[in-house]
């Protein structure tokens, strides 16, 4: 039977606890829901470590547990907004340990994004905060295969890895193939939950007579563009990056600069969380761009751009 992402993560974590003697640490892991059904239901297992509610200290304890790579350690952060507190020692110690001190600190941080009705701190993706820091691997897998690839990469690496998970991905079981057309007018590059919206938008664009290519970005640092993406952009010359983190001053900006380095004559726009704090109500919330907003943006971009030379 095909596992969805939540089931796949649970299976990997169970294997880590039972077969590899690893530790899974975090706050309220065994609470209702078992972190969206991604933590194995083994409440009495000694490797399942409930941390106290001290956010900064908890992150430091997880970092210390991972030092020297004596045991595989997974640190679960239930809401990515809390990374501002939880990640202090990850950024300031774990990410520097191997380079400065020659001591491995392969801590795997499962940082879970959620959005919709959870307010100004807990909501949204925050993987951008790590982009500027050396010594950290960052990935945003949305499928079991992608998540498994990140997992395998991490455990052969001396540095910490942030897995930017999104709760909207937990029911996904199949891969997200890229979408390629013969003569794309625009190339979409989507990240995290932006991939779900972009996938829907791609279908809607076709209905509107607009050919678009869609590529999915999983590896954020080191940044690895998906195969075929740059060629598509060389053809379309128009790119829209869709992320579930803030669109201003974050990952998408960095990605855009890297794209321009490879395709200098491309025009790039970015969509992500708006530059405002999220409220709790639907009318004040701040969420990943919807497919209709993406379609609207693409239409606007096509209208604005100069006519293409054929």
């Amino acid at each position: 039977m095909e596992l969805n992402l939540a089931e796949f993560i649970t299976a990997k974590c169970e294997e880590l606890l039972i077969s590899q003697g690893g530790l899974i640490m975090g706050q309220c892991l065994t609470a209702v829901g078992w972190v969206g059904g991604t933590v194995p239901k083994l409440p009495d297992h000694e490797g399942l470590i409930e941390l106290s509610m001290a956010d900064v200290a908890g992150g430091g304890i997880a970092v210390g547990a991972a030092l020297n790579g004596l045991k595989p350690i997974v640190y679960v952060v239930r809401y990515q907004g809390f990374l501002w507190y939880n990640a202090i020692s990850v950024v300031n110690y774990a990410a520097k340990s191997y380079e400065l001190f020659g001591v491995k600190c392969p801590l795997l941080v499962r940082a879970i994004a959620m959005e919709g009705g959870i307010g100004p701190v807990a909501g949204g993706s925050h993987h951008s905060m790590f982009m500027r820091m050396p010594g950290i691997n960052i990935a945003a897998p949305m499928t079991p295969n992608e998540w498994g690839e990140v997992w395998d990469f991490h455990f052969a690496n001396p540095n910490p890895t942030i897995i930017s998970e999104h709760r909207l991905s937990y029911k996904i079981s199949k891969d997200f193939p890229s979408i390629q057309s013969s003569n794309p007018e625009v190339t979409l590059l989507a990240i995290s939950a932006g991939r779900i919206s972009a996938n829907q938008a791609s279908s809607e664009l076709i209905k509107n007579g607009i050919e678009s290519d869609l590529y999915h970005l999983t590896w954020l640092s080191p940044l690895r563009f998906p195969s075929g993406f740059l060629d598509s952009l060389r053809n379309s010359k128009l790119c829209l990056i869709i992320d579930s983190d803030f669109e201003y001053g974050g990952l998408a900006d960095t990605v855009a600069v890297q794209i321009l380095d490879a395709v200098p004559d491309a025009r790039i726009k970015i969509m992500g969380l708006s530059r405002k704090s999220a409220g709790f109500s639907p009318q004040t919330d701040n969420v990943t761009p919807s497919s209709s907003r993406i379609v609207e943006k693409v239409t606007e971009m096509l209208f604005e751009r100069p006519a293409r030379k054929l």
Partner: protein, 263 residues
């Protein structure tokens, strides 16, 4: 104690000659703590200290040439000053580096103790113990019965701000409230030794050691002659016990060794 003192006086001299270009944090006046701990604790105990830790590096057997090389930022032994004075570390003696974020070594030490189950030493100052995450880590270590020895080198100063300006609580009292065994003592080797004898190496044990910093927070400056000097007291005590000749011989050997090292 004498070795550490003389090594650091060599650092003072090198700093005043302009040979050291990185920030330095001297522990002159506080050597009795690391020295006594190194005699008492098992060899290889994991050490999580912060800045002002040359004494721990040397007393626990770190290579003095390596430390000198780090301070001079040259490539003879170390990392060309990348670890410098504040983040000195050594895998050979199981001393972990410090990030520069005061007090973060405490939760990290707790995590290391959690994974390994080994008695683990963490050292803070009276300023870093005020960091948000230090006492909450102690509370968690107590909950998990982690064999942590937390030493607070209490010189009463955060740079130049005295403790009474910053807080109304004492480290040992708060640690006790969290359920840790804790003590507040002076920094004579005898006091430290007798207190350590009460640690069973299976539980959280917090010792606030009142001590006297002889030099500035950073650099090689000094405002006034120190009121307490445990090294001088120790020498006088040994002489009173009729050990003057042995003291002179040991000091002479160390002095020569240090002179050779720095020249």
């Amino acid at each position: 104690m004498y070795y550490v003192r003389n090594f650091e006086l060599g650092v003072v001299s090198a700093h005043k000659k302009g040979l050291i270009s990185i920030p330095i944090y001297l522990g002159i006046g506080q050597e009795s703590i690391a020295s006594t701990l190194s005699c008492f604790l098992p060899k290889g105990i994991p050490i999580f200290a912060q800045h002002r830790a040359h004494s721990y590096f040397l007393a626990f057997g770190g290579n003095p040439n390596y430390l000198k090389s780090e301070l001079l930022s040259n490539s003879d032994f170390g990392t060309k000053g990348a670890r410098g004075s504040a983040s000195i570390s050594s895998t050979e003696i199981n001393m972990f580096g410090h990030s520069g974020l005061m007090g973060d070594q405490v939760p990290i030490a707790v995590g290391y103790g959690l994974t390994t189950g080994l008695p683990t030493l963490s050292v803070v100052g009276d300023a870093s113990v005020e960091e948000d995450y230090v006492m909450s880590s102690i509370g968690y270590a107590v909950k998990r019965s982690i064999p942590l020895l937390l030493i607070c080198e209490d010189n009463n100063l955060s740079i130049l701000t005295e403790k009474s300006v910053r807080r109304n609580w004492e480290t040992s009292e708060v640690a006790k409230a969290y359920g840790a065994k804790s003590f507040d003592i002076d920094d004579t080797p005898a006091s430290i030794w007798k207190t350590l004898e009460k640690w069973n190496m299976k539980e959280v044990f917090v010792v606030n050691v009142r001590t006297t910093r002889h030099y500035w927070h950073a650099g090689s400056g000094q405002d006034q002659a120190p009121q307490i000097d445990r090294l001088s007291e120790m020498r006088e005590s040994l002489e009173l016990q009729g050990l003057k000749d042995q003291v002179v011989a040991i000091e002479s050997r160390i002095k020569q060794e240090i002179e050779t090292l720095w020249n």
